[in-house]
Amino acid sequence: MKNALFVLHNSADTRSSEFATLAAIATSIGNAGYSSDLLILDTTGSSSVNVKHGSAFRNVTAVAPDKAVGDGADYLVHIVGKAASAAVSLVVGFGTISNRNWAPQVAASFSAEFVTACELIEVADNALRVTGPVMGAMVQKTLSLGDRNAVVLYSGENLAAPEGTDIVVEVSREPAEQGAVRFVASEALPDSGGIPLRGASKVISGGLGIGSGEKWRLIEEFAAKVNAAVGASRAAVEMGWVPSSRQVGFSGQKVSPDVYVAVGISGAVHHLAGIGGAKKIVAINKDPEASIFKIADVGIVGDYEQIVAAAMRKL
């Protein structure tokens, strides 16, 4: 019998699909002899958390810090480090920016394998096999974990919830350690804010084809009008039009929205690596040969400025 610890940050932006996906993984690795606990960092401010599909876990705990800790990137180094005592051989979280900071530190302290962007966790021969993209998503890499400890960040598709029930857990205070890393304050990002990319059901992404930082506004305004999150190609991020927390793709975030709209994005493999889970893809590009059309359900050839402006007038 092996123990796994799942970690989820529950904030106002957490979707029920995130609870479902973790519960599904916990249930499937049960077949390889893992018993799973869930540790929730709760920053909603409420005194209890309704844990969807919580019965998939042996034990669920929820903690909140006694003071602001930002996105928990350092706070969780200590909290997960403590919870994942010697008896835990697997830690699982999502591939978020915050998790990418604490997870490798926890992994290093256990000499564990660390998988940054795992898209598949399978049970084979009574052990786990984890797979994710490398080399700009041109190649897949698989590790057979055997008896090795591992910390795995999952960025694969949303998974369907297993059978089970919701449970409610009380939130307990876990003080932030006075360590060498101290959170000072948060400052809003230089974008218009809006719906976070993580878990969004609609995403409007812009690429280099948008043309300028001024014109990028049109993407933000359009996204706000249709209740979509703003996404971006790396080229748009590199131009400084949008912060890198909005980057979609191999080295950015993986998204699985119902509708993904790619505006002025050519469709490089690195970008496509982030949108494989989208249910519907709409591409707007002035080049009819752009590779983005090869994977788009709806293709719109033309100048995005005219098309998006016309759409804005109709709203």
Binding site: P133, V226, V259, I295, V301
Partner: protein, 255 residues
């Protein structure tokens, strides 16, 4: 301040797909013989950040890589940008592909000197994209790490204040030194070295440190071709005026 920058040679990130294949035993990614290499791009941001600190607060900057002599050109590039010293930790190809062995080699080389007050690395390398080695090094040196860093606000001999990217904000943190920072491209625009720097770097001595990679190793990797492209039945192209296209866009968005 005594700053160490970790850099890595990587395959050219824009390598054409047909140059990338997998060995018959599936245990290796094989690159075509004419493949180009470069310095990992985030590492250039790391070098620039260190040199920026040297200029603003005063520091000695040492660039370090674990590789063979083929990586010397990237160490020289960092020297040309303004780094003071360069160290190559000699590490064979096989060990270099193992995060644990690479980190052990770097840690033992760094421990031979005094522990630096600040270590800066790129947030991830463009080949494996794991972003693990800097954290293993930080663990080996017993220092905290933080990523992804997008700004350095102030630095003293004892502390450094940085901006860390979060989902919807930039969070300021104060770290007590020594510490490890993993930087992202937003932090700066790496300078192009001037001719004088390039000439001096050509003549500079690169210190070579031997390594005996022992200890923990990673589990073997197995490689397979990338996932097939997203399957679609057929792309429905919208014909007509911009108005028609706009209407189709809104319909797809349920508006």
């Amino acid at each position: 301040m005594d700053i160490v920058v970790l850099i890595k040679k990587v395959p050219d990130p824009n390598l054409p797909e047909q140059f990338v294949s997998i060995s018959d035993a599936q245990d290796e990614v094989v690159l075509h013989a004419s493949s180009q290499y470069s310095i990992n791009l985030y590492d250039l941001n790391a070098v620039e950040a260190a040199i920026g600190l040297k200029e603003s607060a005063g520091a000695t900057v040492t660039v370090v890589t674990a590789d063979d002599a083929s990586a010397d050109q990237y160490l020289r590039r960092a020297l040309a940008m303004g780094a003071d010293n360069a160290i190559r930790v000699e590490l064979d190809d096989k060990s270099r592909r193992d995060s644990f062995k690479t980190a052990q080699a770097l840690v033992s080389a760094l421990k031979q000197k005094s522990i630096p007050s600040l270590v800066i690395a790129g947030r991830q390398s463009s080949d494996e994209d794991a972003g693990y080695v800097p954290y293993l090094v930080a663990h080996g040196l017993g220092i905290p790490a933080l990523a992804p860093i997008v700004s350095i606000k102030s630095a003293s001999e004892r502390t450094i204040n940085v901006g860390k990217l979060a989902d919807a904000s930039i969070d300021e943190y104060e770290l007590t030194l020594p510490a490890m920072l993993l930087v992202s491209n937003e932090i700066n625009k790496p300078r192009t070295p001037g001719l004088k720097g390039v000439m001096a770097a050509k003549k500079a001595t690169i210190e070579v440190v031997a390594s005996e990679p022992g200890g923990v190793a990673g589990v073997p990797s197995k490689y397979s071709p990338k996932k097939g492209q997203r399957a679609i039945e057929a792309t429905k192209f919208i014909e007509g005026s911009d108005e028609d296209k706009a209407a189709a866009l809104l319909a797809a968005l349920d508006k």
